[in-house]
């Protein structure tokens, strides 16, 4: 892990009318790090990541991704930065009118000028990374929840991004599949040396995967530290997460 920030969020403020969701929120994700963001449902975690990838605007503050201030970028520049970010959605968000192969080819065809053979090889490599080479011609509706999550991870990885954002990667999965997904995330991080921002409620997931944890409470970065530091905290608000 290097001391160079790949994501820098400074004093981020976002409100919806009178409802203040994020109030001067700060976050730094360092190169090669697994940073877990924990917070209660509705605390603004999803809003924060939507602001981070430019799906949603924000009112104040700044967000820098790989040194680029995303609020000052043109659409084509933002699209270019997005190719360096892999995003695993909570519900997988596979394109359900396309096969697994087409889902994986989709970003490749738009951002890489590869030959058909190279594209095919990259798709197969991505599927092998997630242990599902046999699913290549299936439709997303034919896959289980765990398999869909793996394919979504393969799609997030296909452009070899520098940063991966996981939005509740184990939610809705049984404990065994959840454990498999966590192991997969760790293997991928090791293999591609990516930096990961993981949003989760799953304490086991946070314990196994995190280098550092940030607690998002009342719209602010309430506490920060390693899993052990936070788990040993005497603050009742922090303790509530690690029970």
């Amino acid at each position: 892990m290097e001391n160079k920030a790949v994501i820098e969020i400074k004093d981020l403020y976002k409100s919806f009318g009178d409802l203040e969701v994020l109030k001067d929120f700060n976050l730094n994700l360092f190169k090669g790090e697994n940073l877990v963001l924990m917070g209660r449902s509705g605390s603004g975690k999803s809003v924060m990541i939507k602001c981070l990838v430019g799906l949603m605007g924000f009112d104040k503050g700044s967000i820098k991704v790989l040194g680029n201030d995303i609020s000052k970028m043109k659409q084509n520049e933002l699209d270019q930065v997005r190719t360096d970010i892999g995003f695993l959605f909570q519900g997988s968000a596979l394109y359900d009118s396309m096969t697994v192969r087409e889902n994986l080819e989709f970003p490749l065809r738009r951002h890489r000028k590869n030959s058909e053979t190279k594209t095919e090889a990259l798709v197969k490599e991505a599927l092998e990374n997630v242990g599902l080479p046999q699913a290549i011609d299936l439709m997303p509706a034919e896959l289980s929840g765990g398999m869909q999550r793996r394919i979504a991870l393969a799609r997030a990885l296909i452009l070899k991004p520098k940063i991966i954002i996981y939005d509740e990667p184990t939610t809705g999965l049984d404990p065994i599949t959840a454990k498999e997904i966590i192991l997969l995330m760790m293997n991928i991080q090791k293999k591609y040396e990516t930096s990961s921002l993981i949003i989760t409620h799953d304490v086991d997931c946070a314990r196994v995967i995190s280098n550092r944890i940030i607690l998002l409470l009342d719209g602010k970065d309430y506490a920060e530290g390693s899993f052990n530091d936070l788990a040993a905290s005497g603050d009742p608000k922090i303790k509530a997460f690690f029970k």
Partner: protein, 259 residues
């Protein structure tokens, strides 16, 4: 007072939606002429809309021709004008009934399917996933669908009109001993370019309306799965209404130019 204020609210939201649709249409034209062109997806949508609506349009057109001829025949016989049947049927179908009926059928088939598809993509974050992967979802999903609907509807209407005339010819052949050759000779004698051109031009607008409204409703659908159903339903209702409005405008303009 409550009654009046609910009407006022309804009017307000209707005009707000019209404004939003205007913005959506503006964005469509801006994105239509900017690179990159999603040609592959456009062809895929042409296939989905054109080829897969062909059977429905053909069956509807055929029955339309049969029924229209069967219903008109007794009245024309009463006036001794049954020989005018091919001319009357062809002009009615080509000018008015064919385009409007087939556009309404396509509003149900294509408009609802676009509304439901984009609506479900929206609520399952597939549109966000597309955007996050650095692809412009508006260009990929909306521009291709609206353009495909605009291009496919005139073709479907021409096919539907032709099948309707075949249906009519079958009735005339079985009930009135009119041969197919004679029937179609009279059809082509009766039809002029002034019948064909305005009727075809307005179908481009019908197709555009079907694609645009379906995409607008689906792309902006909210409130989970209930929103998907609502998007699909309101796409059909709004498009059907719009088809009649566009048809009135087209007939009005044609009347100014040709009469």
């Amino acid at each position: 007072m409550k009654f009046l204020s609910s009407y006022q609210q309804g009017f307000n939201s209707f005009f707000i939606e019209i404004g939003e649709m205007g913005n959506f249409m503006g964005r469509y034209f801006r994105e239509l002429f900017s690179r990159p062109f999603e040609f592959r997806e456009f062809l895929n949508q042409c296939y989905q809309m054109g080829n897969k609506s062909l059977l429905l349009v053909s069956v509807t057109g055929f029955i339309l021709g049969l029924v229209f001829t069967l219903q008109s025949r007794p009245t024309l016989m009463e006036f001794g004008a049954v020989s005018w049947m091919p001319s009357m049927i062809s002009i009615s179908i080509v000018r008015e009934i064919g385009p409007v009926m087939i556009a309404l059928i396509c509003a149900g088939r294509i408009g609802s399917s676009i509304g439901a598809e984009l609506g479900s993509m929206k609520v399952t974050e597939q549109i966000d996933a597309m955007e996050v992967s650095g692809t412009n979802p508006f260009k990929f999903l909306v521009v291709t669908r609206v353009l495909a609907a605009t291009c496919m509807l005139p073709i479907l209407v021409i096919i539907g009109d032709f099948v309707a005339l075949i249906g009519s010819a079958i009735i005339e052949n079985s009930k009135g001993d009119v041969s197919f050759t004679l029937y179609f000779n009279q059809v082509f004698e009766a039809l002029e370019f002034t019948d064909l051109i305005p009727a075809t031009v307005k179908t481009f607008f019908f197709g555009f309306a079907i694609g645009l409204v379906g995409c607008f409703k689906g792309y902006n659908s909210k409130k989970g799965t209930a929103g998907v159903g609502k998007a699909s339903n309101s796409a059909v209702v709004f498009t059907s209404m719009l088809i009649f409005v566009l048809d009135f405008i087209a007939v009005f303009i044609t009347d100014i130019f040709y009469n």
